[in-house]
Subunit: 338 residues, 2 copies
């Protein structure tokens, strides 16, 4: 194929040698960016598509939650510049290749959770009641996709700060629903499934027990949830939050657990803010694939990855990470700042 | 273990669930940084440890190449803040775990190639003769490690610019020699070995043939080397440079090939500079493990990854990449700017 004259290309490609899965998504180059020059947090609220009063700048909502004032408090909309989407998609006729270089259609759904009508940036600016509404919206959208046979997995993630890849500063998260299980989840499932077969128990439950016994990486030990610094954290202060009780799927979380989850999440972010300023981070919800698979072996959790170091040739070349702060030392500092 | 009071921790950890390999390297937190505040390229040559006249600021050289003037032109030294090192290492007594969370000693070698006595930043500021000396130094250090039975693989990489994770701006590369094959190389070897078994030919040779036939991603087509945009490039303008003739190991490169390699490398970087300003990139040398393994199936090459987008929750959560520029469009632009 020749690219000249073609409008935006949209394909999913898998490299035959490296195995990299790459979404070629030229449409996304046109999306708005508060941080067009790396260090300028513009925060131009007059143009923010997520602020109250600017609803016409986003597609029709998939979900709207009413807040205390009667105005919407959480608003879920399709991503206007989606990385993936459902339905017939045109893509370029592939070049004949014996290497299996056959681009796939980038199927899936890409949604945005606008987590407040106010132009704020982080969850510590939400009340516990407001953050609870956000978590309920996560659950509702996961429940929605869990019944769609075309979709096998969904990831919810949040980018806070330029260093974490945020393009808009107004508080929001994203949901990515995919017809295949993405590589990170496939690896976790493989390891947890193998552990389950060998030990007849969930590897995360075992990890929780060990972290609660040794306590050297423990950050918050609450009634229903536990937060600890990850044993092999990829960045300083990488923190995981798990439910104490075994549960593979976030969409099965009970109403009663919603507020305690909001509380521990807020507490962890507050403690991180006390150590890292400004705090940039990615928050990622890891939950089991849909359609009742892996229910015994997997355990949903949040991975919160503060972004203070830049990946370099070392990481790109080896696939390994360098973390200049021991997770035990990070946890000790987070406990003190609690 | 309790971390309080312990001095710098240095361990290699593998997460039992995610499989992440992480070097906990607290010593590295103290290394010098030209870019302590993200956007300030200080360029304070008075303090640069790599400039001529400051040789006492680095360890004793492992290799010194004389330049035209009789002064050293390329100087290879042990990294003063190594991510890995050989020899008996103390590390904390691990917590008892049933999860195989047993930290390993971070064995290996970490070297720095100081590529000019002058305080310059990119290879386009080197003459072809000077860049040839750099490539010869790569080959010499790889030959050195290829005879060490403790070492199974070495990666050479270069970080140019803050966005690519550089901490010092003075032109340099790094070599990381490891007792195990790192994850990125393990995946490439697995795919190329399987292709070889099924097809009795090298997957990279086949890829070269296809790229040279279709030409849609071709950037430079020289006598001994070929450069093309990667089919599943992870970042806009990701470019690979391969020798035409099958060869698994960079250390077997002939003297006659050194200057042509310097030429194509410089040409590719010049073309990238014409498209991206400022150009930040990682250059990574992928070469086969030592001790004559994978000689038929693997094919050494450079991967040059310009860094213009920041990884975000999408990449950390899924392990997939989003590239907003089709590799075919990138190649068309690089050809025009040639």
């Amino acid at each position: 194929m020749r690219i000249e004259g073609k409008t935006s290309l949209s394909e999913l490609r898998t490299d035959p040698i490296t195995g990299h899965q790459v979404l070629i998504a030229e449409d996304r180059a046109g999306r708005p960016n508060d941080f067009a020059s790396p260090e300028s947090a513009s925060g131009d609220q007059a143009e923010c598509p997520f602020c109250a009063g600017h609803e016409s700048l986003t597609p029709e909502p998939l979900l709207e939650t009413a807040g205390a004032s009667g105005q919407w408090q959480v608003r879920v909309v399709p991503n206007k510049f989606p990385a993936v989407s459902l339905g017939q998609q045109e893509f370029a006729q592939p070049t004949i290749s014996t290497l299996g270089m056959l681009p796939q259609s980038p199927d899936g759904a890409h949604e945005v959770f606008i987590e407040s009508p106010r132009h704020i940036q982080d969850i510590t600016e939400l009340s516990i009641a407001e953050l609870t509404l956000v978590l309920q919206a996560y659950r509702e959208r996961l429940r929605f996709w869990s019944t769609d046979e075309r979709i096998h997995h969904a990831t919810i993630f949040k980018n806070v700060g330029v260093a974490a890849g945020a393009s808009l500063e107004h508080i929001h998260s994203q949901l990515l629903a995919l017809p295949e299980i993405p590589p990170v989840m496939a690896t976790e499932l493989q390891h947890s499934q193998r552990y389950f077969e060998e030990n007849k128990t969930c590897v995360f439950c075992q990890l929780l027990e060990e972290e609660l016994t040794h306590r050297e990486r423990l950050v918050v030990d609450a009634d229903s949830f536990v937060a600890f610094c990850a044993y092999a954290g990829r960045q300083p202060y990488e923190t995981w939050i798990l439910p104490r009780k075994h549960s593979a799927s976030f969409e099965h979380l009970s109403d009663a657990d919603m507020e305690p989850l909001a509380e521990i999440l807020r507490q962890v972010v507050e403690r991180l803010q006390a150590q890292l300023s400004p705090l940039s981070y990615n928050l990622i919800l890891h939950t089991a694939p849909f359609h009742k698979r892996h229910a015994d072996a997997y355990h949903w959790h949040f991975e919160l990855v503060p972004r203070s170091t830049t990946s370099a040739g070392f990481e790109w070349g080896t696939g390994m990470f360098i973390n200049p702060l021991a997770p035990e030392r990070a946890a000790a500092r987070l406990v003190v700042s609690g």
